[in-house]
Amino acid sequence: MSTTYYLLLSALLFSIGAVGVLVRRNAIVVFMCVELMLNAVNLSLVTFARINGALDGQVMAFFVMVVAAAEVVVGLAIIMSIFRTRHSASIDDANLLKY
């Protein structure tokens, strides 16, 4: 089976994630879309490792997973505290940091 399909799937997943980040307002959904993008990248890293016959890409994928796990912890904590103060999980409501 050609590795191209994996790359195409990866691109598709990344695009869905990116569009989701841009168009959705619910912070949890946006967060999940970010995870989707990260895992799309992981998929392409692993695929490239396979194509090149080297382990570098797979190692890199582990790193991404670790960073993503840490990011989930911090991000969810932020979303939790915003929800507690503003009673809303819409990211458009948290717009005080501006000009």
């Binding site: 980040v21 841009l22 990211i91 948290a94 940091l97 000009y99």
Partner: protein, 648 residues
Amino acid sequence: MTELPEVLPATGTASLAWLLFALPAFGALVLLIAGRRANRWGHLLGVATVAGAFVVGLLIFFDTLALDPDQRTRELSLFQWFAVGGLNVDFGLRIDPLSLTFVLLITGVGALIHLYSVGYMASDPGRRRFFGQLNLFVTAMLLLVLGNNFVMLYLGWEGVGLASYLLIGWYQDRPSAATAAKKAFLMNRIGDVGLAIAIFLLWTNLGTLQYTQVFARVGELSGGVLLAIGLLLLLGACGKSGQFPLQAWLPDAMEGPTPVSALIHAATMVTAGVYLIARTHAIYDLSVQGRLIVAIIGTITLLIGAVIGCAYDDIKKVLAYSTVSQIGYMFLAVGLGPAGYALGIFHLLTHGFFKAGLFLGAGSVMHAMHDEVDMRRFGGLARYLPVTFVTFGLGYLALIGFPFLSGYYSKDRIIEAAFAQEGWQGWVFGGLATLAAGLTAFYMTRLVLMTFFGERRWKQLQTADGQDYHPHESPAVMTIPMIVLALGSIGAGAVLSAVGLVDWLAPSVGELVEPEGVGAVPHAAVPWLVVAISALGVLIAWLTVGRHRVPVERPAHVSLPVRAARRDLYANAINETLIARPGIWLTRALVYFDNRGVDGLVNGLAAGLGGSSGRLRRLQTGFVRSYALSMLGGSVLVIGALLAVVLT
């Protein structure tokens, strides 16, 4: 070129020469620092220090007189003033016939003026400070004439400028006095710049500023440099001595108290220019053009002074313009070169006596007439002020060159020397100097007639504060200096020419070269000619002023020359148009350029940045999704660029 004398170290009495300037300097220091405590005895200290300096001067003079003429030039090195790089300046004094002559004039006449001021300033609350500043003036002038290098000369030169500024502006509450002081200071500054540049030129070309070395090596200079130095020194001399074109400050300097006018006009300050040219005669000896320009400046000035003197009604201003004119004679004399240096100094001495006497006399008249200076309000004062009248009259006769009084000896010899010049110079210099002698006789006779003779016009008039005039003779402390100076006016010329002033000065300014040949007018005829012209001037004054009633109000409708003379021959207008106005315009243009150009650029840049950042910050909306979009867009752009580079 004249032989330069050998310079010996000063020993014996001459080593006391530092006392000459140290005494008045001590007086100035004490009087200006001690404050009110010194009020009771301050004026006495002021007189004593200058009189003491005069005594020291006399001692050194007699000590020098006992020496051979070629041993009379001595130097006293006190200490090293400063050394910077190759420039090594000694605080040294040069004691030679020229400087001693000036020392005796400055301290002698200066002491008399100090004595007179005790009476004149008796009612002034600032008398102690006044004496402090007078002492400072004398100190500076003594440093100027005693220094043995150009830096010392410059020190004294600036000191004189400072002291004159303080004293001319003595009546600080009078705006006109403050303006006159500033004007004197500024116009002097123009001259000072010339002197400074001349000194720089001497330093760069010769590497020394000691008189002895400079004069010995002046022959190494090229003609152009020599001429430039000569002209710049002349500019300095013109500033200090009130010569054309810098003469306008001198009459305004009359705003100061009368003793100050006497001091400025007779003993100090204005004589500095003549001293400078006589002292640097080694430079002028080598520069014929430089000398010619000095003589031309002198001739223009003596004419200007005499013409304007005829038109003024202010007794002090007439005397001031008379000084301008007489200093012009001295410049003419020193401009004649070896034939005239000594004659210029000779006239300076006799002039010092009679002009100081005239100013003190004018001060005495003002003292008697509530500080009135308008001669049209005087008249018939001879009976009320007998001593002033007699002393003033003697000064007057000396000034107009009445035979066998001082002015006759000195002025006639200058005119003789002028006539003896070759070609057109003899005719022009001699003729104009003779004409000015006639004008001098006219304006001085007019002054005396209007002040001391004729109708007592003040009887019908009142002072500015509404009182009657009560003319009264001045106290003895004022009349005694006037009497002494009047004796000087009678005898100075005859005595000085009998004892051989000219030979005495020879070691300093070179032997006097007697003019050869007939010149423009035969030698023997000159005195007759001058006396005749002067008599004509007196006669015209008698016919036009003495025989008529003098109107108290100044006639408004007068002929063009009188109108021009009343406005100082437009000297102030010319200065204003040519220098002051363009200067103001330049300043305004520069201020405008600075405000609009430089400041505009800086402020505009700041405003532009502020405005654009104010608009740019609107991009920060606070919506996370829009930031995410811009990140995506940015990433796409970067990747696209990378791909574009990689693929090509």
